[in-house]
């Protein structure tokens, strides 16, 4: 029986899709069976970040409508065999998703996998609410930036009121992933501090993902950052987050980019 996780944020462009792909790949590499589900109907992008865009045949709406069975719509990752993708529809809109249809598909996914990770669309409308509705655990992705923190606060409010768990009077488990964290700006005091964000949102920290060119490089190549370069700083931060989700105790640290000997040599020459 799977744990269903929603990756959500309210604000767009903060790293939900990157986080979904990175956590999904990290959990799958650890031997767990994982399905990442794109809920961004009409603006799908998880397929691109996963590098599966050329192989999409059916999507979530086809499964909800019964045009295809779930196993027919799942796209198996070519790099990690326990990782699967259920893409969103690019051509239809979210109104094609019925509450009952989504509930049925989520139930089926729950039986098949250890982890189901739902990539929420931005915003607080129906699409975002459908993505979070069946979740057991929420990962709130936030940038250390005022508008992102405010939007995350709105989303936390929805997680506590509009989800199946909330409706049953249960507490939704919530975690914060702080992305695009820039240690040098933080040192200068030009960025919201981690403690401040945690204090304002009052949910526990799952990981701090440092700002890194490796994230863009991985998305260019269509490979989750945790697979593309497992040793880079953001990949290590995501891998730690995945282990924490599995219940392991992993001390929190801010991974920094390790410079190779050659890098250091050339940096010095260039300077």
């Amino acid at each position: 029986m799977a744990k269903v996780l929603v990756v959500t944020s309210g604000k767009g462009g903060v790293g939900k899709t990157t986080t979904t792909a990175a956590l999904g790949a990290a959990l799958a590499q650890g031997g767990q069976s994982v399905c990442v589900v794109d809920f961004d109907v009409g603006l799908r992008n998880l397929d691109l970040i996963m590098g599966a865009e050329r192989r999409v045949v059916y999507d979530l709406i086809n499964v909800v409508n019964g045009d295809a069975k779930l196993p027919q719509a799942l796209i198996k990752d070519k790099r990690v065999d326990t990782l699967h993708l259920l893409p969103a529809s690019q051509t239809r809109d979210k109104d094609a998703l019925t509450d009952a249809g989504v509930a049925r598909v989520m139930e089926e996914l729950r039986e098949k996998f250890d982890w189901v990770i739902c990539d929420s669309p931005a915003g607080i409308e129906r699409g975002a609410q459908l993505a979070m509705h069946h979740a057991d655990i929420a990962v709130v992705v936030t940038n250390p930036e005022v508008s992102s923190v405010r939007d995350s606060d709105r989303i936390i409010g929805l997680l506590d009121s509009k989800t199946a768990k909330a409706e049953k009077g249960e507490e939704m488990e919530k975690h914060l992933i702080l992305t695009r964290y820039d240690p040098s700006r933080a040192d200068r005091g030009d960025m919201l501090k981690t403690e401040d964000v945690l204090d304002i949102l009052s949910i526990p920290l799952l990981a701090i993902i440092p700002e890194s060119q490796e994230v863009l490089r991985a998305s260019n190549l269509g490979c989750p950052v945790t697979l593309n370069n497992p040793l880079c700083a953001p990949a290590r931060a995501y891998a730690d987050a995945a282990r924490r989700l599995k219940g392991e105790e992993v001390p929190m640290s801010l991974p920094v980019e390790r410079k190779s000997f050659l890098d250091k040599l050339f940096m010095r020459r260039a300077a």
């Binding site: 050329r54 192989r55 059916y58 295809a68 069975k69 190549l221």
Partner: protein
Amino acid sequence: MSILGIFQKRNSGTVARDRLQLILAHERAESGRPDLVLQLREEILAVIANHVAVEPDKVKVTLERGEAVSTLGLDIELPLGAAAKLDAKLAAKLAEVAANKGGRSGSSKKAA
């Protein structure tokens, strides 16, 4: 391309551009008929159903969008008896066609 270029890895920005150009070309082309694959599957299955009972769940459809061509793959599981029946029917049909035209005939099918 320079000799060095052969050994250099393509940088990720170029890969990103190529991937986008390919997928956008396909999306623009597909935009008029988003259900093409679904329709193709239904019609192909209907033809096969004339000869043999196929369970829709046992059909695997794959698609690989390429630069010049896309490949549509249908992997259809045929029950043991049905496959034999299909072979016999197909053979009869092919013999008929060959007899009529006296020419070449070819067939290909895939049974998983």
